[in-house]
Amino acid sequence: MALEDFVSFIVAQAIAGLASAASLFLIAVGLSIVFGVTRVVNFAHGSLYMLGAYIAYSLVAVMGDSFAGYLLALLLAAVAVGIIGGVIESTLLRRIYHAPELFQLLATFGVVLIVQDLTRTIWGPDDLFAPRMPGLDGAIDILGHAIPTYDLFLIGVAFAVLGGLWLLFRKTRFGVLLRAATEDRQMVSALGIDQRWLFTAAFVLGAALAGLGGALQMPRQAASLSMDLSIIVDAFVVVVIGGMGSIAGAFIAAVLISELLAFGLVIFPQITLVLIFLVMAVTLVLKPSGLFGRPEFLTAEDVRNPDPPLQPSDAIAKAGWRVLLAWGLVAPFVLGEFSTVILTEIAILALFAASLHFLIWGGGLITFGHAAYFGLGAYGAGLAVFHLSAGMAPALLLAPVAGALGALLFGWFCVRLTGIYMAMLTLAFAQIAWSIAFQWIEFTGGDNGILGVWPSAWASDPTVFYYLAFLVCAAMIWALRHVMFSPFGYTLRGTRDSALRSSAIGVDVMRHRWLAFTLAGAAAGVSGGFFAFAKGSVFPEVLFVSTSVDGLVMVLLGGMQSMAGPILGAIAYTEIQTELNRVTDLWQLVLGVFIVALVVVLPRGLAGLSALLVRRRTS
């Protein structure tokens, strides 16, 4: 009897896990196909999934009274999303295929923001529930457990799609071309195939699969505005484990993750996330390109043009730094007491952006999860105040330690990967940190955050706190710059320009990257600690992907090739955001359009713009 119960429990959980795997597979495989052919990781893939759910909701309301009508509504939603994907590809992505990976990720994140605000405008901010699917709204009894028939339907759809894709990729010329393009796009083009057509087709296919995945979720969960980012992180995890560009890998990894969640939630709910994290970590250590992925080969096409070497400041640049420093010192008096809050924020964010710039430009390490270390710093300080009743000084000292420890741990895994895999892994780690802060309510306060993180009495005056933050952040930025010119910095830049040549002359590339990661984590932790005291509170948002993106936009806006870039970027971005918040509710939409425009029109940032102007004038 006990054994029977156990077996039936296992079967029921396994079926529930497979049903959840269905949608995850659909979205992950689409992401994987698009990446394989175009080499672009489409951040907005989750938005297409979300659109699939919302469009299906509206269609079901019109035609979902019968089984056939409902089914048609789901399929039409997928088709609609495919068309939307085609529009996105041909208007935006086509322009950024040759841009660096980081810019591609940012631009597609801009699309995420745009789609979010448009969806909110069209369907409203509330969660939407669709009716169940007629004919599949019951349950059947399997070994004493009631299994929803819709779950079985989902599993059937997943296998049908898997089979369909297998046929497409093995038995049709289109599929063969997609596989060939995944290996060597240039050769495919030299054999007379128009890539543009192939790319658009792959993107439409991937988008339709994501749309179908979203539509199929409607009877199981509500359509909500947060489903885009939550699914894309899961999809990244699946694709990283399964291997980029592999259909079988996406399927097996989706099943693996979903089953882990299904059983984990029953057996040890607290550490389910950690479990997934462990699976991912073990996979990546054993097989960095994922279970079924092929290792990335550097071809002549991929070798980056080395950046112009960093020059020590000339007289003009030195004068510029001095002006910036002097302005920081006198600004509270010139602009008045009222401005110190914004000035403080700018100083803090400038350090955050500088630490990110240190990694991206100095080390060539593409991170999309720098918020983790900023947030760990903020939480380190906040929790010290909240649980240990620590004063401001010890709490601020704890902040870089927290940031550095987090970076030490996460970095060990991340530096093993390169390029887009590294970007996705850093993002996944940051999101894990976010969900821990969000879910571990007893310790972190969850969504309610930690309140009452105020500066000590001696620094409670906003002007005094500003000077403290400004001086510490300026010193840290100076230190980062100093490191860039140290032997370590030279070596790091060497590994950026050619990891292969660096290791050939005896440089331990991974160790240098790991150290750089940790250093940047500590610096981000400092800025996070100050951020907590500046706001008087800590919320999970500090760890969220949007914080990472804020940092990236600042770096990009300021321009990558200059050490002053992140500072100028932080100033400009904070001002723009403050102004935008004042004039519009659709600030995400505006920000999204802004990011996309920035990547397409001004990929070298403001510093690049000024360099361009100088060159125009001289030529």
Binding site: R173, V176, L177, R179, A180, E183, D184, Q186, M187, V188, S189, A190, L191, G192, I193, D194, Q195, R294, A300, N305
Partner: protein, 238 residues
């Protein structure tokens, strides 16, 4: 007189900021087998990539059959009848032999009896027929070289660019490639190949162009060029 199959006038080409071709001139008469001779890094491969639109061009003009194709993307160059067999072979390793041929195939404006098919390709390269379902990544170097040529032929080119076809292959296989080039030429195809191996070149080519430091140094009939003392000193090792 019919126009040249292929003509390059004053071509500059770049890899990023580095210039690789400096005003290169080249003329490939219709129906000829022309060989580009030159050392490693002289610009032979770059010349072929420039024709295919695979490197950034500066100044200069490229014509196929009198029509300008300067700045065209690779797929359009291919469609006016220029087939490209790259140096590193670049077969699609995860695709079978048949699938590799399928990628190269497209419907051209060629009369059906002149059209390349699987059967005709297998007649030219008999060993490939037995390997049709094998993954290209599992083939030997010589088999891969046959496959890349076969794959390019499936697009029914009028001109074929062969980049160092003898490189790294056993002498027996090199002889097969010689036969192949002669067969293709006899069927009326224009061939441009690049070689460091002058002995190989002398067996197949009727015209030769010597390239050095991104420029065409000498051009003439193969006999003329191989009797030129400078060429002999530089390329014909005793």
């Amino acid at each position: 007189m019919s126009p040249s199959a292929l003509r390059l006038v004053g071509i500059d080409a770049y890899y990023g900021p580095a210039q690789a071709l400096f005003g290169l001139d080249l003329e490939v008469p219709t129906g000829s087998v022309t060989v580009l001779l030159g050392r490693n890094g002289a610009g032979k491969s770059t010349t072929m990539k420039a024709i295919m639109g695979l490197v950034a061009l500066g100044q200069g003009e490229i014509e196929v059959g009198g029509e300008s194709i300067t700045g065209w993307p690779a797929y359009r160059v291919n469609r006016v009848g220029v087939g490209y067999v790259p140096e590193e072979r670049r077969v699609f390793a995860g695709l079978s032999v048949m699938e590799n041929l399928l990628v190269g195939m497209h419907d051209p404006d060629v009369p059906s009896q002149a059209r390349w098919t699987h059967e005709r390709v297998f007649d030219l390269f008999p060993p490939l027929a037995a390997l049709r379902d094998r993954l290209a990544g599992q083939l030997s170097g010589g088999e891969q070289q046959m496959l890349t040529i076969a794959r390019t032929l499936m697009g029914n080119p009028g001109i074929i660019l062969l980049d160092e076809p003898s490189e790294g292959l056993a002498p027996v296989i090199v002889q097969q490639i010689v036969t192949t080039v002669k067969t293709l030429s006899a069927q009326g195809m224009t061939v441009l190949l690049s070689e460091q191996n002058v002995r190989f070149a002398a067996q197949v080519a009727d015209r030769a162009v010597v390239i050095e430091r991104g420029k065409a140094l000498l051009a003439g009939s193969m006999t003329e060029i191989s009797n030129d003392e400078r060429v002999r000193d530089a390329y014909l090792t005793p």
